[in-house]
């Protein structure tokens, strides 16, 4: 074996702890970057596969009771390849008749499970259901404790008689969000069972596959007109838009955050590894001098000192790459599960090994070349004299800074001046702490911004509950509801879907004098009650360049009518999985006029006398009983808010995981620096022991040193964190929904506690290491 390689191996073995820490640093860096890249790549691939799958319906039409024969009519239309009917029944389920809370269930009736061509469902366990049976989407198990063979009960309303169904299968619905996120389970039953449950003779959903999906807009219009012409009420027509598909926004946000954090991870691990390699090099300067004295040239020296970096880097890549792929696989599977995606089988693209090599080998080599180059250019005499660490730089400046504090103890001065002895290392460590603190501050701020925005949104929708009616009902029914003992106020609303050109929008009919929708006007005014006036939301106005007083054409059901924009309001709230580009608000009369419901409402917004969740639940059960003649179904706003927050939970979880990793890397960075400081100053510590320094003094020395680094890092971290938080909130807002920036004092305090706590905790180990040193060992150390 060449002597140089032998020397490298022995050097690494000689400094076991340091070599281990460096290897660990490189491995964490490599594994983190590989994991994030692997997750992002495979999630994107999974999403692409789902949306490319021909199984997805190109157009979905929600209708009233629809004769099955209509299918034949529609299938004869140009561009229509296939039409499959379904029955969608929004009901509730429980495993026990006496359950206090029934879980929302979307029961989908399917004609022939074996012949499903559109929105195909995969069977994971058991079999597809026959009469009196049900199969549940596997994610329902997040909401219900159920096993195959169990009997579960369904009922749409508290007043209904529950129907017992036997659970015979678990399925997976591609691209459907997890039940835990939607706070709603999905189940499948034979279409006849679903019709019976929904009180329908025919179907209420048409799934349509097209020959030319590009022409979906024109075909959708034609379908709308045909259905309208036959007097079939159309509640929505949705065109599949691969660019705006269900879960796309959520996934885009997750991927964006993953990418942002992977960049931070690269920077942090680069710092950590660079720091350690540079420290090892600094310690070797005397040896460099000796080797130069023996005739080693610059190239040979650089080669010599690249070897340990290369060896450690190779070790980091060899361990970090598989660990990263394993971790990425686990993270990807978790996220894919929540988003209804299926991750491709374990695979390897060139991207991950390349990233691993760049982080694992590139960074350490660059970090080693710089000091090696400098060392090779320094005269032998200077190198041989080089011992341990030099005296402090910038002492006078520091002393001036400390003057107002008064006399500081010599020990504290030593600790504070220590940073000036290795300015590069101190700078890097401060940067590592700053980045950790900034990441924490930014993620916490994002979190509180999301929560704050959700709170604000539910402040706009001021109703405590919404009551949907089986068939559209006259708006005057609101007066009857208002007289119920539990109800403080009731408003008749209408809700449907529509289009402005090719763009899908949510359409809300709300009374002019509404008290339960607290709109926030940005421009213009709220509509006055004149026909054909509406207000649009800011996102829609932005996308389409709409301004007040402009006239736009709106398609609802089979109708297209011109409307005048009265104003623009700020309301970017969106229900989960929504694919709409924005909202329109108009009078209920305008909405129902276009859907041919007449002056009728399909939704009643209620303000209740008592607002606590249990009181709301009890009141809604009483209201459903009282209104059972209209097949009403009530849902509470608090539960809707909870399901929105549940979606935010993934984000929250992900952010916490990232912050933990970054915090750990940060702590490793401080520990590493302080351990290097201790080993480099063993001799000094030995002298201090010799002149009477007890363990407490040495611990104090290292704690003050760590705390000083922590404070500097915190100061910089606040500045960086604010910028990062703004960027993160802005970016997340752009891909999820518009967020209000909220920085809370609690976040600032928590960030400070984290940075300083990290610094202190990371100092304890090196402090104990210093305290354990026996003076004679330290004095002997060279």
């Amino acid at each position: 074996m060449p002597i140089l390689l032998l020397k490298t191996f022995r050097d690494l073995r000689h400094r076991t702890l340091r070599s281990f820490l460096t290897l660990l640093g490189i491995t964490i860096g490599v594994a983190g970057v590989v994991a994030i890249s692997y997750t992002a790549r495979n999630l994107a691939a999974a999403q692409g596969a789902v949306y490319a799958a021909a199984s997805q319906a190109d157009i979905s039409v929600g209708t009233g009771d629809l004769s099955p024969t209509i299918r034949n009519v529609l299938e004869r239309l140009p561009n229509v390849a296939l039409v499959e009917p379904r029955v969608y029944n929004f009901t509730r389920t429980a495993t026990d008749l006496d359950a206090t809370r029934w879980v929302d269930l979307r029961l989908i009736g399917v004609g022939d499970f074996g012949q499903m061509q559109i929105n195909r469902v995969e069977l994971l366990e058991g079999r597809f259901p026959g009469t009196g049976e049900i199969a549940l989407d596997a994610s329902a198990r997040n909401l219900l404790d159920v096993r195959l063979g169990d009997t579960i009960f369904t009922r749409a309303r508290a007043a209904d008689r529950p129907v017992a169904r036997r659970l015979v299968g678990f399925t997976r619905t591609p691209a459907a969000l997890d039940a835990a996120i939607l706070n709603q389970a999905t189940g499948y039953a034979p279409i006849a069972d679903a019709r019976k449950a929904a009180g329908l003779v025919g179907d209420n959903r048409l799934l349509i596959r097209l020959e030319a999906p590009d022409e979906a807009g024109a075909t959708a219009g034609r379908i709308g007109r045909i259905l309208g012409g036959r007097g079939v009420p159309v509640s929505f027509i949705t065109i599949r838009d691969p660019e705006n598909a269900e879960g796309r926004r959520e996934l885009a946000t997750v991927l964006l955050l993953l990418t942002a954090f992977s960049a931070l991870g690269v920077v942090l691990s680069g710092f950590l590894v660079g720091n350690t390699v540079a420290a090892i090099m600094a310690e070797e300067m005397r040896q460099v001098g000796t080797m130069k004295a023996l005739g080693a040239g610059r190239a040979r020296l650089i080669r010599a000192y690249l070897l340990p970096a290369t060896l450690l880097g190779t070790g980091g890549v060899v361990i970090g790459l598989p660990v990263g792929i394993g971790g990425g696989g686990a993270l990807g599977t978790f996220l894919a599960g929540l988003l209804g995606l299926r991750l491709p089988p374990p695979n390897l693209a060139t991207r991950e090994p390349l990233l691993a090599l760049a982080v694992g080998l590139g960074v350490p080599i660059v970090a080693a070349v710089i000091p090696a180059w400098r060392g090779a250019g320094t005269p032998v005499s200077a190198l041989v004299r080089s011992y341990g660490v030099a005296a402090a730089d910038g002492r006078r400046a520091l002393d001036r800074l400390l003057q107002p504090v008064g006399r500081v103890s010599a020990l504290a001065l030593m600790a504070l001046r220590a940073g000036g002895r290795r300015p590069a290392r101190t700078t890097i460590t401060v940067l590592v702490i700053a980045i950790s603190a900034a990441a924490f501050l930014a993620t916490q701020t994002l979190n509180s911004s999301v929560r704050g925005t959700v709170d604000a949104l539910y402040g706009v929708y001021a109703a405590d509950a919404y009551l949907s009616v089986g068939a559209a009902t006259t708006v005057r029914y609101a007066d009857d509801l208002g007289r119920l003992p539990d109800v403080a106020r009731a408003e008749a609303w209408a809700r449907t879907g529509g289009f402005i050109g090719p763009l899908g929008v949510d359409v809300w009919g709300v009374p002019t004098d509404t008290e339960l929708y607290r709109y926030r006007l940005v421009a213009g005014r709220w509509y006055s009650g004149q026909p054909r006036e509406l207000v649009v939301t800011t996102d829609l106005a932005r996308d389409l360049g709409l301004v007040p007083d402009q006239i736009i054409e709106v398609d609802i059901g089979a109708e297209r009518r011109p409307f005048t924009i009265a104003g623009i309001i700020d309301d970017e709230s969106t229900y989960l999985g929504s694919t709409a580009s924005g909202k329109l608000f108009m009078t209920v009369a305008d909405v129902s006029g276009m859907t041919r419901y007449g002056d009728r409402a399909n939704l009643f917004a209620l303000a209740l006398e008592r607002r606590e969740p249990t009181e709301v639940d009890a009141a809604l059960t009483r209201i459903e009983y009282a209104t059972r003649g209209l097949s009403t179904s009530a849902y509470a706003a608090y539960s809707d808010k909870a399901s929105t927050l549940q979606a935010v939970r993934i984000l929250d979880l992900l952010l916490r995981a990232m912050v933990t990793i970054i915090g750990l890397v940060g702590a490793a960075g401080i520990t590493n620096t302080l351990i290097l400081n201790v080993t480099e100053r063993r001799r000094e510590i030995g002298i201090m022991r010799a002149i009477g320094a007890r363990s407490g003094h040495l611990l104090q020395l290292l704690l003050v040193e760590g705390l000083a680094l922590g404070l500097l890092g915190l100061a910089l971290g606040f500045a960086l964190g604010l910028a990062l938080a703004r960027a993160l909130v802005e970016l997340t807002g752009a891909s999820l929904f518009r967020l209000d920036f909220r920085l809370t004092p609690a976040t600032l305090v928590a960030t400070a506690a984290l940075a300083l706590g990290l610094a202190l905790v990371a100092s304890v180990g090196p402090g104990l290491l210093a305290a354990r040193l026996r003076p004679i060992e330290a004095l002997r150390y060279e």
């Binding site: 005296a391 000094e684 002149i691 009477g692 007890r694």
Partner: protein, 258 residues
């Protein structure tokens, strides 16, 4: 040859002290079953060739190193029975050490280096400690350089700071390991004179040296060879305890010039 017994009251007593190290080639015995008694107030030079074990004697007396066997009692305290922490505390209170390479903290000024040792010992108020440190720096002639870092001082000046540091807690035992080994002869002389000057009253001074001339200034010379005491003799020329070298009155710790 067994060392001659000394009748004076024993301040330091080493009883069959052995110090052995494990090396790659087996056990190396630096000190072999050594007995030694030193009375309070004595000034002792330990001499011998490199690797003879002279520094080991100094280190075990200071409690910096622990013997592999035997017993060490200093000032009535059995060092071998103390934990590392208690030993450190004891050393801070009772021992002043001067090293060959000065060993000042490079980031602390001369004054702060002296203060550091008194901070470790604690006890007195901050103002009083500072006063004492300044006084000592003045006595070693460095009052004007008190704010300088070690790197800004000459070797002799650094050793004088180290001496002030060793004395700041007024220890009864002053140990010096080759205190002039890294200095030119004139500066070395000056340091020895200062050492002698501070070795007053009951303060015991033990120093290790290669230099026979310097050794001859001690009241007693112990020669060590291959880990055993080869000879132990009193000299005719004792350290000049009242020497006028710097014209300072060392008994009350004050300069006559104020």
């Amino acid at each position: 040859m067994p060392p001659p017994a000394h009748p004076a009251e024993a301040f330091i007593r080493l009883t069959t002290v052995t110090r052995a190290y494990q090396t790659g080639r087996g056990t190396l015995t630096a000190l072999h079953e050594t007995d030694l008694t030193i009375a309070a107030g004595e000034s002792v030079a330990i001499v011998g060739p490199s690797g003879s074990g002279k520094s080991t004697i100094l280190n075990v007396i200071a409690g910096i190193d622990r013997p592999s066997g035997g017993q060490i009692i200093v000032g009535g305290v059995e060092l071998t029975a103390l934990s590392e922490e208690r030993l450190t505390r004891w050393r801070g209170e009772h021992v002043g050490i001067v090293f060959q390479f000065f060993q000042l903290m490079p980031t602390l000024s001369a004054l702060e280096n002296v203060l550091l040792a008194s901070e470790f010992r604690g006890g007195r108020g901050r103002g009083e400690r500072r006063q004492r440190a300044l006084e000592l720096l003045e006595r070693v002639g460095l009052a004007e350089l008190a704010d300088h870092l070690p790197a800004e001082l000459s070797g002799g000046e650094q050793q004088r700071v180290a001496l002030a540091r060793a004395l700041v807690n007024n220890p009864p035992l002053l140990l010096a390991d080759e205190p002039t080994g890294n200095l030119d002869s004139t500066t070395g002389e000056r340091i020895m004179a200062l050492l002698a000057e501070f070795a007053v009253a009951d303060r015991t001074l033990i120093f290790v040296t290669h230099d026979p001339v310097l050794a001859a200034r001690a009241g007693r010379i112990i020669r060590v060879r291959d880990g055993v005491i080869a000879s132990d003799e009193r000299t005719e020329v004792a350290v000049d305890r009242d020497g006028p070298t710097t014209g300072l009155d060392t008994t009350n710790g004050r300069s006559p010039t104020g």
